[in-house]
């Protein structure tokens, strides 16, 4: 392919790979669910190289698949099987371009890992709130392209809320230099918003101007054993009423999710002596003793069974490690049908009960593993294979289970796609659950920004 040679020339030695073995990790989704083929991966080292590369692809009508840390859960960063799409990795664009303490902002290349950004902020005695289990390897460009959520959405909002400005290379190679750090700017359409959550289908994000926050004071981490998901929602309501916006994270863990995590990593253990049906892990930025008084008054009266307050950061970290290992731990439990859904916060309890009940009717011994960001109404409702059933037999029920979950979500006025995005995994469901009017506007945006359909072809729409 002539495109391949031209692209290699643009990025230069060390900027591309084309042998099957080195390409392998970039062609497979981390759980091995999705596999694709590609003749070439390019890793440009500057915005100018990204732009020049895309121009060449546009000229030849060749598809481009942007890839960040490849931790996405919907196959969005994996090329198709045609062996014709070029992978564009942001791995080599990983510098912090600029920090401004007084402006509470920083400008970063899209290939910086989330963890690097958090650390740079901490070194400035500031805080970057986006946080999720994959933070060591996912990149900010990927986070923004999927509008990632994570654990601190409750207080700080999703990835979208952290963006002041973006630099984007369009499908024809032109560059939008929108790296303004303004908090207010009503000059026309807010173009950056369109690329956030677009999963690489409208352009390549090459840099972002991010919002920083003061470091939260009084970080208290508390593990709560509680008798129902509904009680967890009530507890959150009480905390917000009495402590304002101070709950930073509020995560729900079912007893089964807890057991799976313990089995997965022997250094993790349930901090409570006796097991209960549900747990909440919360980080609250409020003065300790007021918080203790509030929780104490909730104990026994409102379904709280027991609460443990981390007495140092090492304990807090251990508790969070338990929460963060749940996703990975399910890999060890056989096949798992995953749903990343959200319903109105007030209805989480009722929703989980309905869904568990319905799934039991479809696949009686399937193990429902529910956990997630209950403060955002976002539940990861995964259904693991029964221990005594073959994978194939279990997966026969997959579409019945997923249909049931999504129909229930719809009944609760929720969404089938809370924070992981559409990719290729949920394309059909997007067609099913979004109105024709909404879909036609999405298609119009896509075709005007990418008339040739070369940006991440076949994803989302």
């Amino acid at each position: 392919m002539i495109v391949v040679d031209r692209l290699k020339a643009i990025v230069g030695a060390g900027g591309w790979i084309d042998d099957a073995q080195s390409l392998e990790p970039y062609l497979t989704e981390w759980r091995g669910r999705y596999r694709g083929r590609s003749p070439l991966l390019i890793a440009p080292s500057s915005t100018a190289e990204v732009s020049a590369s895309i121009k060449v692809c546009a000229e030849h009508g060749v598809g481009i698949v942007p890839q960040g840390g490849n931790t996405g859960l919907c196959g969005g960063a994996i090329p198709d099987e045609s062996n014709e799409q070029i992978l564009l990795s942001l791995n080599r664009m990983n510098n912090i371009r600029h920090t401004d303490v007084d402006d509470f902002s920083m400008v970063v290349d899209a290939g910086c890992t989330l963890q690097k950004i958090q650390r740079v902020a901490a070194d400035l005695d500031l805080f970057f709130p986006l946080s999720l289990a994959a933070e060591g390897s996912c990149q900010i460009g990927g986070n923004l392209s999927t509008n990632a959520g994570g654990i601190n959405v409750l207080r700080y909002g999703t990835a979208r809320a952290q963006v002041l400005g973006l630099e984007v290379v369009l499908a024809d190679g032109r560059i939008i230099d929108g790296l303004r750090s303004l908090r207010k700017d009503t000059a026309g359409y807010d173009l950056k918003q369109i690329f956030i959550g677009a999963e690489g289908t409208l352009g390549v994000i090459t840099a972002a101007c991010l919002k920083l926050y003061p470091r939260p004071k009084h970080c208290n981490t508390i593990f709560v054993a509680i008798d129902s998901a509904a009680a967890a929602v009530r507890l959150l309501g009480r905390m917000r009423a009495l402590l304002g916006e101070s709950p930073q994270a509020f995560e729900l863990i079912s007893s089964r999710a807890m057991r799976i995590a313990e089995r997965y990593d022997s250094t993790l253990r349930n901090p409570f002596d006796t097991a209960s049906d549900w747990y909440v892990l919360t980080t609250v930025n409020f003065e300790t003793s007021a918080l203790e008084n509030l929780l104490m008054s909730e104990i026994e009266t409102n379904g709280i069974i027991e609460a443990i307050v981390a007495k140092n950061e090492a304990e807090a970290e251990k508790m969070w490690r338990l929460r963060h290992s749940i996703s990975a731990a399910q890999k060890n439990e056989g096949a798992s049908i995953k749903h990343d859904v959200a319903v109105p916060v007030s209805r989480v309890g009722e929703f989980i009960v309905s869904v568990e009940f319905g799934i039991a009717e479809i696949s009686p011994r399937a193990r429902v593993v529910a956990f997630g960001h209950v403060g955002d109404g976002n539940i990861h409702l995964n259904v693991s294979q029964p221990k005594t059933q073959s994978i194939d037999l279990f997966l026969e029920d997959q579409s019945a289970i997923t249909d049931f979950v999504y129909r229930t979500v719809d009944r609760f006025s929720g969404t089938f796609s809370a924070e992981h995005g559409i990719g290729i995994a949920r394309k059909e469901h997007l067609q099913e659950f979004r109105s024709e009017t909404e879909l036609s506007v999405m298609r119009a945006i896509k075709s005007s920004l990418d008339p040739q359909g070369i940006m991440n072809p076949g994803k989302v729409l």
Binding site: E292, M296, E306, K311, N312, E313, A314, E315
Partner: protein, 255 residues
């Protein structure tokens, strides 16, 4: 030697330090380490010391566990945490001055003379200055045996068997009580604190003793001149081959 078949009292020291997981930052004026708005916790080795004392008590081998801290009034927070873990009462020797290891050991001696514990357990060192001295100094001043770097501790009547982590491996010694033991990392894993215990701890006795009352005058022998952060590590370079490596070493004057 007085006969004891059960220890009446164990004294445990709890030092307030910058939390182990916090990245320490030097103050802008280089006068010390930033503690303003920084998470403070019990020195981790002291927490292990307390856990051991509590286990001894729970086995019925001691009657009372008393936790002690020395320093500013904020140390009460760490003492309350100790009480929530299960200590029976707490003493804060209050002082706004910096307390160095020797002053600390003298203060502990004054408390030992008041409280007559059968055993004092301290952390092997505090993670703020890493001095590793207070336990040894206390034992010397008190003129009682010491067993430092303990990874195992059993009490039998008026003696204790202690496994110590030493440079060449493990050493097991027997010491007469009363004595000073300092806790190493592997001695135990401290318990979590539960909310009802935190609430109960708020009502447990906490005595505040002004340092002046103990007739120990702080006599600091060290003056800190300046604090600086360690130099940033230079980014590594990848060399292409052996020749490149040799050239790079030569350039740095290393070959």
């Amino acid at each position: 030697m007085l006969e004891i078949d059960k220890l009446e009292k164990i004294l445990v020291g709890l030092k307030r330090v910058v939390d182990y997981n916090v990245r320490v930052r030097v103050k802008a004026d280089a006068s010390g380490v930033e503690t303003d708005g920084v998470k403070m916790s019990i020195n981790p080795f002291d927490e292990i010391a307390l856990e051991e004392a509590l286990r001894i008590k729970e086995r019925g081998e001691a009657d009372e566990v008393v936790v002690v801290s020395m320093g500013r009034t904020e140390c009460q927070q760490q003492l309350r945490t100790g009480l929530a873990m299960g200590a029976d009462r707490a003493i804060l020797v209050e002082s706004d001055d910096e307390i160095d290891s020797l002053t600390g050991a003298k203060i502990l001696l004054a408390l030992v003379e008041r409280e007559h514990p059968g055993l004092v357990i301290l952390g092997k060192q505090a993670i703020d200055n890493d001095n590793n001295q207070t336990g040894q100094m206390l034992a010397a001043l008190w003129d009682r045996p010491q067993a430092t770097f303990a990874s195992e501790l059993t009490i039998s009547g008026d003696s204790a068997t202690v496994t110590r982590e030493v440079d060449v491996g493990l050493e097991t010694i027997e010491i007469d009580l009363p004595a000073v033991v300092t806790a190493d990392l592997r001695l135990n894993e401290p318990r979590y604190v539960k909310l009802p215990d935190i609430m109960k701890a708020k009502k447990k006795p906490l005595d505040i003793v002004p340092l002046a009352d103990l007739s120990v005058a702080p006599a600091p022998r060290l003056t800190s001149v300046e604090y600086t952060a360690p130099e940033q590590r230079q980014k590594g370079v990848i060399v292409d081959d052996v020749a490149g490596l040799v050239a790079a070493l030569k350039e740095k004057g290393l070959a």
